[in-house]
């Protein structure tokens, strides 16, 4: 893609009550890509997304979204952006159809009936067209929210934790749709806590305490950090875990079910630890590339919390 980036922001900063919620944030999102946005709760993801689509004015920094200035042209940005909020934000006392119709009107869609009918053509949603939105299950609410935020055919989707609290099947279906939209040239910026979703993204940015810590392709991120890993399974894993946690040559020991991921930044030291424990214990050790989750846990542990944690959704 040689197009202009869909999003390009530099030095975005937002201060709430004297606290830097977003601090000097840079990001470029290529058009037609799926960009994952990761980070712990309260790290400033929602605030960043809101600044990008012109809902909040940054205290410092500038940028453009779909070629429009995020400070001055929020009106034009809104017309071309679909923003799906973290919390269900459609009217619970309106039906599915009434909600879609309302949003289509707000975006001034010509030929509104057809547009709403197309949105309702989605399997399952059409059957619930006359059901009150408030009575839908979590998965269907999220489906409706996606239908509503894509009804005006936006070129950019900003999805703020769209799959939080949704069952695995619905999550898969949701991501199928995101990929279909991306195939049609829609750019998507998706914030998430799920690693299986993160690896489906073309690019990932990781943010903590308002600062971007790393960004890149999913498979490149562990290498960027210079992290090496061993996978350990077998009997007596609990005892081994407590023992390894004391070992200062290791960066981290993370448990996934009955498996341990043992990681470090010094490859030789790490291998020495592995060699030593492999002989003394019944467990199986296998060298493997660190997973994305290993990388992010490493990042989170390493970055210090300069400010008190703050609820992201309260803003």
């Amino acid at each position: 893609m040689i197009d202009k980036p869909a999003i390009s922001v530099r030095g975005l900063t937002k201060i709430f009550d004297g606290r830097k919620v977003v601090d000097n944030f840079d990001m470029d999102v290529a058009p037609g890509t799926i960009h994952g946005f990761l980070g712990p709760n309260g790290s400033g993801k929602t605030t960043t997304i809101r600044m990008m689509c012109g809902l909040l004015t940054p205290d410092a920094g500038q940028g453009q979204c779909l070629g429009h200035d995020i400070r001055r042209d929020s009106q034009k940005i809104k017309q071309n952006v679909g923003y799906m909020t973290q919390r269900f934000s459609l009217y619970e006392d309106l039906t599915v159809r009434e909600n879609l119709d309302f949003i289509a009107r707000m975006f001034g869609m010509p030929d509104r009936r057809t547009v709403v009918a197309q949105a309702l053509a989605h399997p399952g949603l059409g059957e619930r067209a006359d059901q009150l939105a408030g009575t839908l299950s979590g998965g269907w609410k999220q489906r409706l929210a996606l239908a509503a935020c894509t009804i005006h055919r936006p070129r950019l989707l900003l999805l703020d934790e769209p799959t939080a609290g949704v069952d695995p099947k619905a999550r898969r279906d949701f991501w199928d749709e995101i990929r279909q939209l991306a195939a049609r040239g829609v750019t998507a910026l998706v914030s998430t806590h799920y690693m299986d979703e993160a690896v489906q993204c073309d690019m990932i940015a990781y943010i903590a305490f308002g600062r971007k810590l790393i960004s890149g392709r999913a498979q490149d991120i562990p290498a960027q950090l210079g992290l090496y890993s061993w996978r350990v399974d077998g009997t007596g894993i609990d005892a081994l875990e407590s023992k390894l946690r004391q070992d200062e040559r290791l960066a981290q020991v993370v448990r996934f079910g009955d498996v341990l991921h043992v990681s470090g930044t010094d490859e030789n030291a790490l291998d020495a630890v592995a060699e030593q424990n492999r002989k003394s214990g019944p467990q199986r050790w296998r060298r493997q590339a660190p997973t994305l989750e290993d990388a992010f846990i490493f990042l989170m542990e390493r970055s210090s919390d300069h400010s008190a944690p703050h609820s992201e959704s309260s803003r």
Partner: protein
């Protein structure tokens, strides 16, 4: 198994207190409101109003007349605020509310008293508020007797003990029978409109914030003005329907007259509805939940009922309470409805009240806009 665990009970108790304390608006309401209202209403409400504005039409200024006026003054019930020279002038003052009483001393009054013709003093009272007029009128006979005792000494002594040398005719205007319904019903409209408009608007706006739907709304290209007008207009229509039903029912059920200018009423009504919507909007910027919006609206309603002259005579309130009452929109709308419906007032008679409503409106809109900007970011 215990039937009643004290520690669990205490846990719930403590939790409730913590939550109570966290909700600052509710907490302030619980602690501050009873005290404030006790002081406010305890001192402000007075069902025996004194110092009623009175005009004097004096066609004779003989000693008897002057004695009556002096005696009225010393009674504290009547404050003479000026003189008029014609009946029409006095009537206008009663209609636009400048005066509550007009005392007419007929020509040759002194002369006729001396000649034993038993002339009559005329007092026109604005009885659209029977309670306010009632106490002063009741005090009149005593006042007149004092005047007689004081002046008719000496040469006029012969009249003492005989039937009083003159009589007082009280002309109760606008509500001659002193019917409560005629007094209460026109004022009720202002109270009903205040109550529903402020509460409904505030709740309708806060609901969008509380349920998170405001976020989706501002993510669309909608402009704030479009959203505000679109949200508020349905409630303006509600106000129209309410008022129409009210006026028809008032006429049919209570035979409340509507003698004044319909256009003046329409103009004042629209202004009042807009003002209440602006107030509702202001309330919505001060609170975070629908519950708090209800509380604040309710808190605003009480003074509208008690200090506006709706239930208790406005003239009976001390000066500071009258200042407070004048800051309440319902006070002015109440006067407007009584003037128009009962006294047959036109636009010219309600200029002052319209002006007051406009000033309140300007202040409310100004504050609301300031608050609104702050809440966007």
């Amino acid at each position: 198994m215990t039937l009643f665990s004290v520690s669990r009970f205490v846990a719930v108790l403590m939790k409730e207190f913590i939550q109570m304390r966290r909700d600052r608006v509710t907490f302030a309401m619980m602690i501050g409101v009873p005290l404030m209202q006790l002081v406010l209403f305890g001192y402000a409400i007075n069902t025996d109003p004194r110092h009623m504005p009175t005009l004097l039409e004096m066609a004779d200024d003989g000693p008897v007349a002057r004695a009556v006026v002096a005696s009225m003054k010393t009674s504290d019930y009547f404050d003479f605020i000026g003189t008029v020279t014609s009946r029409a002038e006095g009537d206008r003052a009663l209609r636009d509310g400048t005066a509550s009483f007009v005392l007419v001393i007929p020509p040759n009054f002194h002369h006729d008293v001396v000649r034993g013709l038993r002339p009559s003093l005329l007092i026109s009272a604005d009885a659209s508020d029977p309670a306010a007029a009632g106490a002063a009128v009741a005090a009149l006979s005593g006042i007149v007797q004092t005047a007689i005792d004081q002046t008719l000494d000496g040469p006029l002594n012969f009249t003492a003990g005989a039937p009083p040398p003159f009589s007082v005719t009280v002309h109760r205007k606008f509500n001659p029978e002193g019917e409560t319904a005629i007094y209460v019903v026109p004022g009720l409209l202002g109270i009903i409109l205040s109550m529903t408009m402020i509460m409904i608007t505030a709740v309708a706006i806060v609901r969008e914030n509380e349920r998170g739907t405001m976020e989706a709304l501002i993510a669309t290209p909608a402009r704030p003005l479009e959203v505000m007008l679109g949200k508020i207009l349905p409630y303006v229509m509600v106000a129209y329907v309410q008022t129409l039903i009210f006026l028809v029912a008032a006429g049919l059920l209570f035979s409340i007259p509507f003698v004044g200018s319909a256009w003046a009423f329409f103009a004042a009504f629209n202004l009042f509805v807009l003002l209440n919507l602006a107030l509702g909007f202001l309330v919505s910027t001060l609170v975070r939940s629908q519950m708090q919006a209800m509380q604040i609206s309710f808190f605003l309603i009480l003074p509208s009922v008690l200090l506006s002259g709706f239930m208790f005579p406005f003239a009976g309130m001390p000066g500071w309470a009258q200042v407070l009452g004048n800051a309440i929109p319902a006070t002015h709308f109440l006067r407007i409805t009584r003037k128009i419906m009962l006294k047959g007032a036109g636009l010219a008679d309600i200029r002052g009240d319209i002006g007051a409503l406009m000033i309140i409106m300007a202040v409310v809109v100004l504050v609301a806009l300031r608050r609104y900007r702050q809440t966007l970011d």
